[in-house]
C-alpha cells in the first residue's frame, strides 16, 4: 500500500524519535487489520480512493502525531495570563520609549540631541522582535520547569485567603474610558506643546508675522521633554494600573516641582518674545506678550509650588497616620 507507507512516513516525521518505530508499527498493524476486514467484506482489494478515505479517518499526519505527544503547548494555561499581561505591558513601554518620544523629538527639533536617537520606527521593530522572542522563551522555560517540578500545583495547594492582599482603599477607580481619554489628552497636549516650540504659530497665532519666541526657549527644551514624558507616563500608568498610587504621586511631585522651577526660571529669563523686525507694532506686541508671560508664569510657579507642597504635606501626614489601627479603619470604610 503505497498510500499507507506515505502516510506512516509522514506521521513518523512528527513523532518523538524514541517512540517513532513503535508507534508507527502499531499504527500499521491496526490500519492493515482494518483494511483486511474491509476487503473481506467487499470480496476484493480496496482501490486507491477507498484507501484514501480510510486514511483520512485517521486525520492529518501532524494531528495524529500530536495526539501522542505529552505536551502540546509552549506556555500552559496557568502561566499564559501572566505571560500575556507582561507582554502587553512591555509592548506599551517599548512603544512609548522607542516610538512616541523620538518621533516627537524628531518633529520638534531635527538637529537636536533628542533626534540623534535612531529612526523611531526602525528602533521600535529592532527592540520588539528580540523582546518578544526572549520573553516567550523565558516564559516557556519557566512553564516547562514549573510543570516538571509541579511548582504551580504546590504553590496553589498552599494557598490561603489570608495570603491575599487587602482590598485597595483608594476609592472607586475612574472608568476605563476616562483613563483612555486622559492618556490621549496628555499625548495630544505634549505633542502640541513640543511642536509649538518649532511651529510657533501654534502659540502665537496670526501675530507670528510680527513676533517670535526668543532663543531663551531653546534652553528649556529638555526640561519640557521631561515634563511631557512624565505626564504621558503618568496617564499610561493610570490606565494600566489604576490603583498604583505611589507612581502617580511620584509623577505629580515631578510635574508640580519641575513645573514650578521651569515657570520661575522662564519668568526670570528676560524677554521670552521678541519682534521679528524692530517696529512699533512688533515692539508693542512683544511687550504685551512679555508682560503677560511674566504674570502668567509667576502665577503658574506659585500654583505649582503650592501643589508640590500640598502633595508633600499629604505624604508626611499619611506616614504619620500609618499603622495597624489606621489601616483597619481604612479597610473598613472601603
Amino acid at each position: 500500500m503505497d498510500l499507507l507507507d506515505r502516510y506512516l512516513h509522514a506521521v513518523k516525521g512528527y513523532l518523538p524519535p524514541a517512540q517513532q518505530a513503535d508507534i508507527v508499527q502499531e499504527l500499521r498493524e491496526n490500519i492493515l487489520a482494518q483494511v483486511e476486514e474491509k476487503e473481506n467484506s467487499l470480496g476484493r482489494a480496496l482501490n486507491e480512493t477507498e484507501q484514501e478515505a480510510l486514511l483520512r479517518q485517521y486525520g492529518h499526519p501532524m494531528v495524529l502525531a500530536s495526539r501522542y505527544g505529552p505536551r502540546r503547548y509552549l506556555i500552559g494555561p496557568a502561566m499564559f495570563p501572566i505571560y500575556w499581561y507582561t507582554l502587553k505591558m512591555s509592548l506599551g513601554i517599548v512603544a512609548l520609549v522607542c516610538l512616541l518620544l523620538p518621533a516627537v523629538a524628531l518633529l520638534v527639533a531635527p538637529g537636536h540631541a533628542g533626534s540623534q536617537i535612531m529612526n523611531p520606527l526602525g528602533s521600535f521593530f529592532r527592540v520588539l522582535a528580540p523582546m518578544f522572542t526572549v520573553m516567550t522563551l523565558v516564559f516557556a522555560g519557566m512553564d516547562y520547569f514549573m510543570e516538571k517540578s509541579r511548582s504551580i500545583e504546590k504553590w496553589t495547594a498552599a494557598w490561603s485567603p489570608r495570603s491575599l492582599p487587602p482590598v485597595p482603599s483608594g476609592g472607586p477607580v475612574p472608568p476605563r474610558s476616562r483613563r483612555v481619554g486622559e492618556l490621549i489628552a496628555s499625548l495630544a497636549l505634549g505633542a502640541w506643546w513640543l511642536l509649538a516650540l518649532k511651529y510657533q504659530f501654534l502659540i502665537l497665532g496670526p501675530t507670528r508675522g510680527l513676533i517670535r519666541l526668543s532663543p531663551v526657549w531653546a534652553w528649556f527644551y529638555i526640561p519640557f521633554v521631561i515634563l511631557v514624558t512624565v505626564g504621558i507616563a503618568q496617564s499610561y500608568i493610570s490606565l494600566v494600573w489604576p490603583r498604583a498610587k505611589a507612581s502617580r504621586t511620584a509623577a505629580d511631585l515631578v510635574k508640580t516641582g519641575g513645573g514650578a522651577v521651569v515657570c520661575l526660571l522662564l519668568a526670570r529669563s528676560g524677554d521670552l518674545i521678541e519682534p521679528v523686525v524692530a517696529s512699533a507694532p512688533g515692539n508693542g506686541l512683544a511687550a504685551i506678550y512679555n508682560t503677560g508671560f511674566v504674570v502668567g508664569l509667576s502665577i503658574g510657579a506659585l500654583v505649582s509650588a503650592a501643589q508640590f507642597s500640598l502633595i508633600l504635606l499629604r505624604i508626611f501626614r499619611q506616614r504619620g497616620d500609618g499603622g495597624f489601627v489606621a489601616s483597619r479603619k481604612t479597610a473598613g470604610t472601603a
Binding site: 498493524e29 491496526n30 492493515l32 487489520a33 485517521y58 486525520g59 495526539r67 505529552p70
Partner: protein, 120 residues
C-alpha cells in the same frame, strides 16, 4: 452555536471514553479490535483519539501491553493493569454518583429547579 456543540460534546465524552476503554480492557484487545468492540456496543471512537489514548493510559500505569503474534502478524495487545483495575472501580463509583445526581436533577420539575437555584 454550531461550533459549540462539537466542543461541548468532546468535553462530555472525554472522561466517559477513558472509563469505557478501561472497562473494555478487562478483556485483552489490540487497538483495532478494541475500537470495533466499543463501536459494536454503540461507542464510536475515532482512531486518532483511541490509539494515542491507549499509549497515555499505559504510561500512567493503568494498562499493560505486549507485542504478540496473531494470524501471522505482530500486534500490540492491551489489558487492564492491577492499578488500572483499582482506578476503574473508583471511576465507576464516581460516574454512578454523577449519573444518579444528574438523573435527580433532570427528574426535578422545572419550576422547582428555578426556585432552588434562586435560593442558593
Amino acid at each position: 452555536m454550531n461550533d459549540l456543540f462539537p466542543n461541548l460534546r468532546l468535553e462530555l465524552r472525554r472522561g466517559c471514553l477513558i472509563l469505557a476503554v478501561l472497562a473494555q480492557l478487562r478483556e485483552e484487545h489490540y487497538g483495532y479490535t478494541l475500537r470495533k468492540a466499543l463501536a459494536d456496543l454503540g461507542l464510536e471512537i475515532e482512531e486518532n483519539t483511541l490509539y494515542p489514548l491507549l499509549r497515555r493510559l499505559e504510561t500512567q500505569g493503568l494498562l499493560v501491553s505486549e507485542w504478540r503474534e496473531e494470524d501471522k502478524r505482530n500486534k500490540r495487545f492491551y489489558r487492564l493493569s492491577a492499578e488500572g483495575g483499582v482506578m476503574l472501580k473508583q471511576l465507576l463509583e464516581e460516574w454512578s454518583s454523577i449519573n444518579a445526581s444528574l438523573e435527580r436533577v433532570l427528574r426535578m420539575p422545572l419550576d422547582q429547579t428555578v426556585s432552588s437555584a434562586g435560593r442558593s
